[in-house]
Amino acid sequence: MKLSSGTAAKAIETNALSKHYNGLKAVDAISLSIDEGTIFGLLGPNGAGKTTLISMLVTMRKPTSGSAKVNGFDITRQADSVRKSIGIVFQDPSLDDELTAMENLELHAALYNVPRQERKERIEELVKLVGLEKHLKMQVKKFSGGMKRRLEIARGLVHHPKILFLDEPTIGLDPQTRAGIWDYIKKLNESEGITIILTTHYMDEADKVCQKAAIIDSGKIIAMGSPEELKNGLGGDIISIKCDAHEGCREKLAGLSWVKAVLKHDGILNVRVEKGEEKIPKLLALMEKNGVNVESVSLRKPSLDDVFLHFTGRTIREDEAKPADAMRLRRKFMRR
């Protein structure tokens, strides 16, 4: 038991951690530290470097430069101790489809040298947690995507890790299953005090689950804090105006003293202001005066999507549709 003076023990500490692939800086000198017991989100679009960062932390890939400690162990010099103290749910499936759920879990328990007499009990407890107790004897190839994901989460916990890494735990799942998985994750964190490090590009989900988040883009962390801090950091409200605004109109808005920022994408103007409800009439009047046709107006608090938009000038969704990424995904798919 460490009696630290106010500062919590660190689950993760990285120091200028980098990974380059033939000149591409997939992870570019990231320094961050994560307190024990937090749910921490790495948020960013496809290709941002989230998986690469996690791969290094779980000792799967070697850093090009920099260093990191996981649970106090150095990821290169004490890889074995790191491995024993963490659980991982990879982005891509990693179960043996031919085996049953039970066999997959037992195999994991043996690989991690869980004491024999404890295996059965732990497995039973975990499958209950993820709601798979009735499917233990079923071959994994007969599982749905959501069941596989839940099984992988249970498997990652069989050896009682102090940190659980989840790389896109809900990708490709239906909304209901997604919500279920986030529930398990929260429950785990609350009941076991386990540190959870997850990546996702669903900003809205991250907002609900994460206690702290880092927004990562092109291998760099561009913002970090609790979702509240990140959103409040932008300040005020966002008025979204759907209109046929031309460039001039945007510039005029940006020039107003009470407008903090104007960002335009997909034909929508996002105007950030304080006390949004008072500014709507002003804005509308202004638009009308300038002969701009307004289709609709809405007022909301900034979301993590807005935070991303603020720091990068793009939305995460635009990024998903970029042809280069589509190519990369297709290649990845073909490699399977």
Binding site: S94, E98, N113
Partner: protein, 251 residues
């Protein structure tokens, strides 16, 4: 240490479970050798009486068993590619056990399933009337296991260099088939033209087939001691190669 052994054991068990599940693979893998025995063995039995007095069925039975061992074990080794494609490999690569143990678990597991297939085809050969005897069963099983470990290791080494199953056809046509035909499994190569007989001497399966022939019929072109020694050396080299290449896999 205990941890590593437990890891090897569970990966060995995984191979057996997968083997047991894949009934169609077992039947499929025994189809070709069965027809070799049933058609070539019985068909050529009277056409080619062997000089030494034995018959053809007796000659090819050990050869076909050797073939089953080789096919089965190279295939189990090459399956590493599929473990990689379907992601399971990652689960083992980040587990707190050494890569050496992963390779050993896989090699012993694959070899065990190959020996099971070898034993099955041996029984089939008996049913088809091959006159084979079992002098020293333990030695026979050990020798079959050694041949299998050798070829699984070769399979793992190859798999560690390939990204996907596309290369498998190539391996099958340009490695497995020549190894089989040059081994003297179907006909003796000792009096063949020198390029063939030399190639045959470089083929590890030649020593496997001859060793099996000695153990099952008491006759062989190459002394059993030599077979055992050569297979032992090839096994050590291939295991070393498999471990070296497997170590280089990033993910």
């Amino acid at each position: 240490m205990n941890r590593e052994i437990e890891g090897i054991y569970i990966l060995w068990k995984r191979e057996l479970l997968r083997f047991y599940r894949s009934k169609s693979r077992i039947i499929g893998s025994l189809g070709m050798p069965f027809f070799f025995l049933a058609i070539l063995g019985t068909g050529l039995n009277n056409v080619f009486p062997m000089a030494g007095g034995g018959n053809y069925m007796q000659f090819i039975a050990p050869g076909i068993i050797g073939m089953v061992l080789m096919f089965g074990s190279i295939f189990s080794g090459v399956i590493v590619i599929m473990d990689r494609q379907f992601g399971f490999l990652k689960e083992t690569l980040v587990a707190p056990i050494s890569r050496l143990s992963i390779v050993l678990g896989k090699a012993f597991g694959g070899a065990t399933t190959a020996v099971l297939q070898g034993v099955l085809i041996m029984l089939i050969a008996l049913l088809l009337g091959a006159q084979i005897q079992f002098g020293n069963i333990l030695l026979l099983l050990f020798f079959m296991l050694l041949i299998s470990v050798m070829f699984v290791s070769l399979g793992i080494a190859i798999a560690s260099m390939l990204e996907d199953m596309h290369g498998f056809q190539l391996i099958s046509n340009f490695l497995i088939m020549p190894l089989f035909f040059l081994s003297g499994a179907l006909f003796p190569l000792s009096s063949a033209p020198w390029p063939l007989s030399t190639a045959s001497m470089l083929d590890p399966l030649t020593y496997g087939v001859n060793g099996l022939r000695f153990l099952l019929t008491g006759q062989s072109d190459i002394a059993f001691g030599t077979c055992l020694a050569v297979i032992g050396i090839f096994t050590a080299v291939f295991i070393g190669l498999a471990i070296f290449l497997f170590n280089r896999i990033e993910d």
